[in-house]
Amino acid sequence: MFARIEIAVRPDLIDSTAQGLLRSIELIYPQLRSQIRWARYLDIYWLDLPVSREELIPALSEICWDRVLQWVFTGNLMPAAAGKTGGLQDLMEVAPYRPGRFYGIERRFRSGVTDCKSKSLIEALEIVLGKKLTQARASSGGLLVMEGPSLDEDALARIARDILCNETLETWTLVPEDGLKKNERFHQERIKYDLPKVQTRGSQAVETFAFGQMSEAELETLSQKRLLALSLREMKAIQSYFEDPQVKEKRSVLGLAQPTDVELEVIAQTWSEHCKHKIFNAEVRHEGQVIDGLFKTFIVGTTEQIKKPWLLSVFKDNGGICVFDDEDAFCVKVETHNSSSALEPFGGGLTGMLAVNRDILGCGLGAKPIFNTDVFCVAPPDYRESLPDRITHPRRILSGIRRGVENGSNQSGIPTVNGALVFDERYLGKPLVYCGSGGLMPRISAGEPCEVKKVTPGDRICMVGGRVGKDGIHGATFSSLAFSDQSPTSAVQLGDVMTQKRMADFLLEARDLGLYRAITDNGAGGLSSSVGEMALLSGGALLDVSLIKTKYLGIKPFELVVSESQERMTVAVPPLQLSGFLSLAERRGVEVSDLGEFNATGNFEIFNGPVRVACLGLKFLHEGVPRMELNSRWTPPAQIPSVSLPEENGNRVLESFKKFGNPVLLDLMARPNIASKEWLIRQYDHEAQGTSVIKPLHTSAPESARVWSGPNDAGVIKPKVTSDLGIAVGCGIQPKLSEIDPYLMAQASVDEAVRNVLCVGAEYGAPESVLALLDNFCWSDPIHDSEKMGALVRACQGLQDAAVALSTPLISGKDSMKNNYQGKRKGELVSISAPPTLLITAVARVADVKQARTADFKSAGDIIYLLGHSEFGTLGSELNSMISQSPQFQLLTGEARAGRPSWSLARKLYSWMGGSQGKQQFRLKSLHDVSEGGLLVAVAECLISRGLGASVWLPSGRDPWEVAYGEGFHAFVGSVAPDDAPALEAEWDELGIPFQRVGNVETHDRMEIYLRGSGSTTTQSVYGNLVFTATIPQLRSAWSKEGYWE
């Protein structure tokens, strides 16, 4: 029978879902929010069950009705489960205004979209009814009921489109008041009509193309029409492969004539920018010199130069693999999910996290994910200009991707230990969504070393986990194109965390039992990539798509091969282990499709039942893509205006510093790039697995009414209960330096990432010290723009120089090269390019987690030091961005400089911090790096949680703006007990580490800023002249930026 179930929170309880939606409306449309006087949200299920009414009613009341919390509306199935009439009007009667004007918006999934809640409901029904319900269908949705006298259709449509639904995944309908009150929506016929149906008419036919005869124009059209994202040169390479007489002869023997759509799609996926990194492998002519591939020269070349004994596998596998200790290895990977997040932020964040966790599960012999990281680059949430077509408001993007990462990480039980948020209007066209993950695995599993991937001819090809649907077709090729108002919605997927979690648990169990030989994930390109790549290890593969378990019928063979439906891994299972593998899978509730076998034929062959639909030479498939040749040049930018100190104007600078000191500090603290991310961090479970040592935030005694937290520089976990070895994870990202010089930007990113992990206690400096970097480039398309290519070359050079200087190898990375938008804004063509952005993730070992550090000052009386380099510059600083956007600050302008690195100094300082030089490090009570906002912001961040104050003095004779708010390299703020100062200062002197006493921690709740040895005497103290003061409550309230975030 059919049933429709609406579950509401009882009227006497807070409806937190409705409250959350109202908050979202308020943030985007404050005007509209004020028109809604009351709102409630109901969960809806539509059901079609092969079960009688008598059986269904008790089962539903058991499963769907919590008597303490809920009212359930079912038409007439469970009349007692609601108010006095059993209808929705009972709920509406408790609205505070009468007679009210009510409206409803009903949302439901489009057909074929992953719908986990309805899957769970069917599973619950099966448990309660004690039988399998293979024919059951269910769909979930929701109903937002609102009351407000001046709401109209236009307002409701805006709520539906911009807050409640994502129209790529869902549809919505407005329900008028009498529709809510009447029970027509519960009629059997109506429910039958409302249940989404998947079209199962699709044909199984394989299309072929008369490739040999196609003209250049026809080849280009074909590439565009089928979303292959292949250039003419690549299409011609494919043409000549199929026209090769030897290939033709071989194919005719096999019964294949013209190339099939399956073959074309497999080639397109394998050759996509996303999978093949054609730009990073291109030959580059850069200002008179020829670079033999950026990847080979600057990434692989760097790690080869550095040569570390603890590197087990780099650039070969899903992630880099390093030694953790004698028993275990760790692996790390960072990915981007920019294109899908632009279309569907929640799905993008969720699949991003789940996908990178699968990378870890498929790394080496398979690792257990032990941490996640996430970095988002988006336009500011208070963006007010009009939006180009198909562009989602940045607030909605941020809220969606955050929620996606929350679901993906929290529900998988993986702690999110580190991340960053970067705001810049140029991310409006495409947000950058970096998802990272690390894993731990035994160095030997079932007798095999973890880092070696082997496949033997005869091994079965098993697809494990989720089923294949039409979702996520052309994800890899789509992300290899610029985002436009024409982008396809078929590229969007939603993740299913439960399916993945069950699969992950099962695979780790199977690994320890030695039930498979090799494993990889199904990510971009689906089976075409995973099987295609594993086939290289044995020398061939034969796959039958008719054996693939699918979500529904009617999926074409090529779609089966390239679909990126989530939660799937591909595993090579030795025939002798197959039955053990399958039976364990069944006991764990995990589905496996046995699709064929790996062989040594040199071909990737695909059958659809008895019919051969593809046969591609592996050599051609993986090496046949023509190498790109790109031109590159870099022109330094014209002068960028900036705050500065012209020497002769010393007094005027001092005056402006006194006048604007306090508001500038508070405004900087409230910059979205600097302000507290606590609202986001606390929604991630950063302590899952019980391994947390240093959390993203440090918190003072949780006894006061309002607990305050301040930022830490990186996360530390203790992955093994039997060992005090830790892993530190930090990141560096400095896109605002790109417009000054991408070389500097890359160097600053490396330095920031390394500094962050050093702050929390990473080891560094000895040959056996484990500190590795990952590089993730996000660029806008440089293929036809030699300046953008030049910027990329500069960034690669900067990355290499910094990594070599610090002797920190690159172990894994990824590039996303199409971060542009082309479309229309109010009918006008616009093009938006993301700024060149390089994320550096640093992962390091902590020798003893009991020696890890946090950033907060601990006690009054402690001495504050500025350690390291103090050559700050305001060019490219947060101060500079703020001034350019804040006309109220009439500061002096002129020529400014950017901070510059000094790597020899850095090595000395970092080796001391990292424990390989000196022995007094344990006396440091806190350590925090000087980054966005400069020295004073760093000091303020160390004070916020505990509420202690500080006196800070700035040296005279230098531009106070530059010293106070300039940014640069290799600088830290640390605190030390007075008794420990002599020993530390002696050691720093001995090792040649620069340091300056810049302040004292005080009992009062103020930050007092003094200038040494300057002018007037009215406020003179031992510290110098007091120039301005900011109280801790002021700093806290600026920094927390309440009301701005979701």
Partner: protein
């Protein structure tokens, strides 16, 4: 012969996440630990007699079983009742100990262990929260909490607001207080629970359910402020006491 340590069964599968940490906490308290997958137990038909004979304690760890769909812990509770047929009050009356942590607690509530007028739902702010709180045991009914004062423990959940049914609120609360069931309360109330409740026990005091994670604080370096008290970095965390109490009770 070496005297046998008490044995605990830690349940896993279907999106339970905390089995390793929970097992570790029991190991530190000298229990022998078995982590068992729900489906294996169902297949083996591990019944009540066998359960009582083999295990001194059962632990339902934290997690997101079945993705929290249909209410956190709901489908897990159905699976335990319908497919495994475990009767936890009987197990407790025969001397067994039970702990349900976070998602495990939610499942115990959905199974009706604490009565049918008790439920649990979204935190009042409607968000997932990961933070440390202070909690204080109330009364001395609960054997897991004996001798424990106010302690710091982490909470990490979206659905932790304990609700007492409005229709019979006063009598329900009076009865629970009389039986010593309202055994753990928040100082402050970050999730908006009725009566500041953070945990409940049954009338025997042997079944404890709580939203904070005692297994998340078995080591000094887990506390958010440990770097301010370096001397304590090597000490065990205060959450371990619950498991040590269980050990004493089981011996």
């Amino acid at each position: 012969m070496k005297p046998q340590n008490p044995r605990v069964i830690v349940i896993t599968g279907d999106g339970i996440l905390g089995e390793q940490e929970t097992a570790q906490a029991f190991r530190l308290a000298k229990f022998d630990v078995e982590i068992r997958h729900l489906n294996d137990l169902i297949q083996e038909k591990l019944g009540m007699d066998e359960l009582c004979r083999r295990y001194s304690a059962i632990a339902f760890p934290g997690g997101f079983s079945f993705g929290d769909d249909l209410g956190a812990g709901k489908i897990l509770a159905l699976k335990l009742v319908y497919q495994l047929g475990w009767d936890l009050p009987t197990y407790a009356s025969r001397g067994g100990l039970v702990i349900g942590i976070a998602n495990g607690f939610q499942a115990l509530i959905r199974m009706g262990i604490f009565g049918k007028d008790i439920s649990i739902t979204n935190n009042s702010i409607g968000k997932f929260m990961a933070l440390w709180t202070k909690v204080t045991p109330v009364g001395n009914r609960c054997v897991w909490l004996r001798g424990i004062g106010t302690i710091d423990l982490p909470i990490r959940h979206a659905e932790g607001r304990i609700v007492i049914g409005a229709s019979r609120r006063a009598e329900t609360l009076a009865k629970m207080e009389r039986l010593g069931m309202t055994c753990l309360k928040y100082e402050g109330n970050p999730v908006g629970s009725d009566e500041n409740l953070a945990g409940l026990c049954d009338a025997t005091g042997r079944i404890l359910g709580l939203m904070p994670h005692p297994e998340g604080y078995v080591r000094g370096t887990a506390h958010p402020e440990w770097t301010a008290h370096r001397g304590r970095a090597g000490a065990p965390g205060m959450g371990l006491t619950l498991f040590e109490n269980a050990f004493r009770e089981a011996m």
